[in-house]
Amino acid sequence: MFVDSAQIIGKKIWSDWVLLSLKTYKIAEQARPGQFIMAKVNDSFHPLLRRPFSIHNVSSGEIEIFFQIVGIGTTILSEKKVGEKLNIIGPLGKGFNITSSVQNKEYYLIGGGRGIAPLFFLAKEIKKAGGKPYVLYGAKTEKDLPLLKKFWDEEIQVYPSTEDGTLGWHGLITELFEHKLKERNKIEKIFVCGPHEMMKKIALIAEKNKLDAEYSLESIFGCGIGACWGCVVKLRREKEKWVKACSEGPVFSGKEIIW
């Protein structure tokens, strides 16, 4: 965990989607897929709290974050210019568990909307280790799928879905997932990130098919470092209890999540 004033070295915008590249050696060196950073979007008291963003990509000395503009913090962040500094803390949390023997194993990575953010880094790592990541990338409409090309450039298989049918599978990503399960029956594990309702539906399908699954959960974070107990989610451990999503997650096994 480091606090770093990271220089913004690259930026891309697609309507309300933003990709920022940040120079941050220490965080880049330690980051694992599924971990996140906490960013202070300005030096003012408003907005007061840091905002959490998944680590979307890592290359030598750099990380990327990919986010959707949804409110005050993400709007301010979207207005940052290349060359400016961004104060971040990271890498935080516990990421996805990729077992050591990934070789030739098949994985579905299921990302709804901004939930795609951590799955790019994860897909790259699985591929690097010799595994086969298949990405399902769903959104409302075509313009909300700005990362397709990025997956193609890495030669990662990606299946888009749109609710309005403007691109790829016409319908919900959960339906696409059920459909895709018929194509491959030796899935080692699925990794999921997206809106709560989507993940809940995926969890039902995964359970029915006895699939090992991990989900990256969202909640409102106060600190991101385990200090405030604000971010809790309900888990089944020895008993049902509230567990801090920021420090014990945000990634949890499907076996313990209470939807």
Binding site: M1, V3, K40, H46, L48, I220, W229, C231, V233, K241
Partner: protein, 305 residues
Amino acid sequence: MVDLTINLGFIKLRNPIITASGTFGYGLEFSPFLDLREIGAIIVKGLYFNEREGNPPPRIFETPCGMLNSIGLQGIGVKKFAEEILPKLTDYGVPIIVNVCGEEDDEYARVVEFLSSKKGISCFELNISCPNVRKDGKCPAISPEWTYNIVKLVKQSTKKPVITKLSPNVTDITEIAISAEEAGTDGISLINTILGMAVDIETRKPRLGNVFGGLSGPAIKPIALRMVYQVVNTVKVPVIGIGGIFKGVDALEFLIVGAKAVQVGTANLIDPLAPLRILNEIKDFCEKKGITKIEDIIGTLKVGD
């Protein structure tokens, strides 16, 4: 060189910066970020006797220059704290203050009795002022008698010094402060969070699972400062100022008003280096002004001509 040491009478501190309960975890969470030894004292998250579940989420909602929280004192209880946290924390050699909670009056006594025999605890801070535990936002610190009874009971249950933490959700803060002093408290800290709420107009639901929450952060500093001013001018025991301290200048305001030390709360959530940054800013101010001893600033407010 500025002499930053503070003598509260019942405890000597390396410097006037204390971390506020509930915003600094059990302390250890911050060891990757700063040297805990350099902080004046650490107040750990509020402890009940047993493990506690806390309130349903959402537990946090950000407001302009502040935040509402309704954590509801989720925590690990005294046994786990004494076994798993305390031994590690004492290794740092920083004074440790335990924030004590109780569902019933008697629970405060049980918590301090259990912990008094444990090595490494400097003193207790009685959290009689958490607005998040009962549905109606009530707490002992809203009543002079209730405050008196709990402080008295706790003082009879431990030989260690006791700080009583007051709530701002009262009509006359001085009345409560007097009760705490009469019951024998060794110090007073204030303020805890201000009871508030927020509504989502789309869903027409409260923003917090618990409906009410406690407001903290820069937004509450003027209220906190006024209440600290009132209390230092009413009681003789040392007063510790809390509320919206984010910078050295904020801490200095509280000291000038008469607080002997300050607690940094919400700032820790945003800047884990805040306690030491604030301390350095105080040091810089003193050096610039030729002040050699921090205690010389305390209570130097000039009212009138």
